[in-house]
């Protein structure tokens, strides 16, 4: 329980803060594609006899890099490129799993999250990743904002789009792969997007957006863990339900403020 709490307390705010850029850079579909590649990453690990947790992460980062590079070089829209990669990785995973009997039982944890089985070594990795996210947010928050608002303006300011967007994409892919340990493949994009969406209803500035998203995600993580114990429900999904409840409350308060 303690390890699960620590893991969630590190992952949830990290996702919420990166989620601020996911929304402004319109990358929700990208993070969805990365999360779904976990299915294939685990399958490849199992058939190759490698640690599926490692192959899942490596495969996810490779898919992320592939999408970013292809989207930049191709004339297709980024949505189309992501859609093609999404289809390819999911189809590959289904082919692998369907061709080898007995693999299906490994995927429940991938689909729904399995934070309660987290090991001490994984916690260290999560801590390192959360630190990397914090460092990135210190160095890149303003740069990513300007890149989202107008890339030529950012370029005139001395911000090179390619290295920052690649760094963001790779870090996001790593975070998605680790976060789905907590909330599962089906809901990891929600952990990125929903706290930021709720924060938009309450924040009056960029700083407000950042801190409201982080604090809401943190509270949802702690409350979700304890409620899931009380209800006997999946921890990850319970955390997301709390996030959605926060969004509903914030939307209500924003509506009240607008009516005054």
């Amino acid at each position: 329980m303690r390890r699960a709490l620590l893991g969630l307390v590190l992952i949830a705010p990290a996702c919420a803060t990166m989620g601020v850029q996911v929304v402004s850079m319109r990358m929700a579909f990208y993070s969805d594609a990365i999360s779904h590649s976990a299915f294939t990453g685990v399958a490849l690990g199992l058939i190759l006899g490698l640690d599926p947790r490692l192959t899942m992460i490596v495969f996810g980062v490779l898919v992320g890099c592939g999408v970013l590079i292809f989207a930049r070089k191709s004339e297709l829209s980024s949505d189309t490129v992501i859609g093609v990669f999404f289809a390819a990785v999911v189809a590959l995973g289904v082919v692998v799993v369907s061709a080898r009997r007995g693999l299906g039982r490994y995927f429940e944890g991938v689909l729904f999250g399995d934070i309660l089985t987290i090991q001490a070594a994984e916690l260290w990795a999560i801590l390192a990743l959360a630190a990397a996210v914090l460092i990135f947010q210190w160095l890149a928050f303003n740069r990513m904002l300007l890149l989202a608002m107008n890339p030529p303006l950012a370029h005139a300011r001395g911000i090179r789009p390619v290295p920052w967007e690649m760094a963001f994409g790779i870090l996001l892919a790593l975070l998605v792969m680790v976060a789905l340990r907590a909330v599962g493949l089906l809901l990891v994009t929600a952990l990125l997007v929903v706290p930021g969406a709720a924060a938009r209803n309450l924040a009056k500035s960029a700083a407000g957006l950042f801190w409201w998203a982080s604090v809401q995600a943190l509270i949802a993580a702690i409350l979700g863990l304890y409620l899931s114990f009380a209800w006997g429900s999946a921890t990850g999904a319970t955390v997301i339900l709390i996030c959605v409840a926060f969004f509903a409350v914030s939307f209500f308060f924003r509506g009240l403020k607008g009516a005054k």
Partner: protein, 250 residues
């Protein structure tokens, strides 16, 4: 011409396998406003992006008397910002982000705020510092964009149809502000515009572009009916008129 601020040597740009700019050779006079005019698809924005170093190009874009390839401090005023109206990012946030890499979530230094406010007041919009940037008007947005470009004390200012989303009187007001800034600071300025009245009123020089340079030089000698037909097509012509106009209060 005194030593040029920007020199284009055989600059060509291809995008998606299609030539957008072909073999441009030009020099931009320093400390004054040069307009870049042309029809839609002429490559005006691409020219600005080549000067910014944002698009790969053949040939050379050189700067200053030393004819160096290293870019000086550039200020850029785009047409618009990509931001949805519901975003809580304020004008204060935007201007602070332009000035510093210290993350906005760690707070904005008072000195940055002071400089942001001073820059907005020079544009006549000091009262909008705390407004969400997605909720200010088109005219206010353009003045904020000019304010952010000037905050870095640029050596060269590039404006890409800055008043495209603004009405006629707003555009005239914006150009008056730009001219005041130009006269006060003496910055080399490139203004992309297809508005002939703005160009003839505010620019000293003009470059007429339609993938290639059709004509260039002082406005008084270049802006002839014949040249405009060569740039915009056979249906173009000049109608001279005089009128008095007043600007709405800021």
């Amino acid at each position: 011409m005194s030593v040029p601020a920007i020199i284009l040597e055989n600059v060509s740009v291809e995008l998606g396998g299609r030539p957008v700019l072909e073999n441009l050779n030009a020099e931009f006079e320093p400390d004054c406003l040069t307009a870049v005019m042309g029809p839609n698809g002429a490559g005006k924005t691409t020219l600005l992006h080549a000067i910014l170093g944002l698009v790969p190009h053949k040939g050379h874009v050189l700067f200053g008397p030393e004819r160096r390839e290293k870019r000086p401090r550039l200020g850029y005023v785009p047409q618009r910002l990509e931001l949805d109206r519901g975003s809580p990012i304020t004008v204060r946030d935007f201007l602070a982000a332009v000035q510093t890499n210290r993350p906005l979530w760690s707070g904005i230094a008072r000195e940055r705020d002071r400089q942001s406010l001073a820059s907005l007041e020079r544009m006549g919009v000091g009262g909008i510092l705390d407004r969400p940037i997605g909720k200010i008007s088109g005219g206010e947005t353009q003045r904020v964009l000019l304010a952010q470009a000037l905050l870095r004390r640029p050596e060269i200012l590039l404006l890409d149809e800055p008043a495209a989303a603004v009405d006629v009187s707003g555009e005239a007001l914006f150009c008056d502000i730009l001219e005041e800034v130009q006269n006060e600071l003496g910055i080399t300025t490139l203004l992309v515009s297809h508005d002939l009245s703005i160009v003839s009123t505010h620019a000293r020089n003009v470059i007429c572009l339609n993938r290639r340079i059709i004509c260039s030089g002082p406005v008084s000698s270049v802006m002839t009916a014949d040249n405009l037909r060569r740039v915009f097509g056979p249906h173009s012509d000049i109608f001279n008129h005089s009128h008095s106009h007043t600007h709405p209060p800021a």
